[in-house]
């Protein structure tokens, strides 16, 4: 399935957002996720089905001013 992950097109077969994170080796409590411009809460990732061409953002804490 073609997904746009953090701005890059990738072919990954994942049915849900939590499955995608697992396949991509993302881990930890400090991730924030959004699909197609909408926040997906941590507790909703397992139920959030992914579709072809979904735009997924995965953000983590970073230095900032």
């Amino acid at each position: 399935m073609r997904l746009i992950i953090n701005g890059e097109a990738q072919n990954i077969c994942a049915n849900t957002l939590s499955e995608l994170l697992r396949l991509m080796d993302y881990e930890g409590e400090w991730l924030a996720t959004a699909v197609n411009g909408e926040l997906v809460h941590r507790e909703d990732r397992a139920d959030h089905a992914l579709d072809e061409n979904d735009r997924i953002e995965i953000l983590t804490p970073m230095q900032g001013g």
Partner: protein
């Protein structure tokens, strides 16, 4: 004591966490500054979240409040989504709201800022808006639900110091009850002292410390300058005058001729 959205804050210096030579120097600078609030950001990461995780753990170990920002956002929807994602990660409703309008000056898009502030306030966020020194914009931000204002004093990272003292003075006079934090443009401790002497409640800075030759020592210098400026404002300063006024009494002086 400084009160921001009901929270009592022990320090009037807020520090950013970017651009330090190393995490160890950042940690030491935060400790030496005795700041109670640090700003952080959110970014895309490819290392499975592990870099962000390490940074997150370090920030939590500092024992200070976190003020996440929406740095780099150029539109309302982008800023609102980033704020929501920050709340998810940092478990705080505080957000330093940046909606950048100009690439060269990093000047806020004040129209987008007000709109984003209204949306976020409606969703329970406690918004710290990075704004200009414009009184009308400030008024709109307060109407949008902001209870703190963070005007720039010069462009971000410029180290130019307060470019428009009259505007900052007017802002203080117009909003005597609103916590005002100067955000962006501070380069030297004397700049920080100057705005604190005007009666501003706090100063937020990053590059002036992180980019200093000795960031840890500079963090302490800023802490002292902020405290001195605040104390001086409270103590009441003399107004400048045109003519000399002798500080030593004239009465009783010796006459030798």
């Amino acid at each position: 004591m400084l009160t921001l959205y009901g929270a009592e804050i022990a320090s009037r210096l807020l520090l950013g966490t970017a651009r330090y030579p190393s995490p160890a120097i950042l940690t030491e600078a935060v400790q030496r500054s005795q700041t109670a609030i640090v700003t952080v950001s959110l970014r895309r990461e490819t290392a499975g979240g592990r870099n962000g995780g390490a940074f997150f753990d370090m920030i939590r170990s500092l024992g200070v409040r976190v003020l996440p920002n929406t740095a780099g956002c150029h539109g309302v929807s982008e800023a609102v989504l980033t704020a929501k994602m920050a709340r998810e990660v940092f478990q705080t409703s505080w957000i330093k709201l940046e909606v950048i309008g100009n690439h060269d000056t990093l000047q806020p898009d004040v129209f987008g800022l007000v709109e984003a502030a209204r949306i976020l306030s409606g969703e329970g966020f406690e918004v710290f808006p990075y704004t200009t020194d414009d009184l009308v914009v400030a008024e709109r931000l307060l109407e949008a639900g902001c209870k703190v204002l963070m005007p720039w004093c010069a462009p971000i990272g410029s180290a130019a110091g307060p470019l428009n003292l009259s505007a900052l003075r007017a802002m203080r006079a117009h909003f005597p009850e609103v916590p005002l934090i100067v955000d962006a443009g501070i380069g030297r401790p004397s700049h920080a002292a100057t705005v604190m002497e005007l009666g501003f409640d706090a100063v937020l800075l990053n590059t002036a410390v992180a980019g200093a030759g000795d960031p840890v020592s500079m963090a302490e210098a800023f802490a002292r300058a902020v405290a001195a400026g605040h104390q001086a404002f409270g103590a009441g300063m003399l107004e400048p005058r045109e003519m000399a006024v002798p500080s030593t009494p004239v009465i009783g002086r010796a006459v030798f001729a």
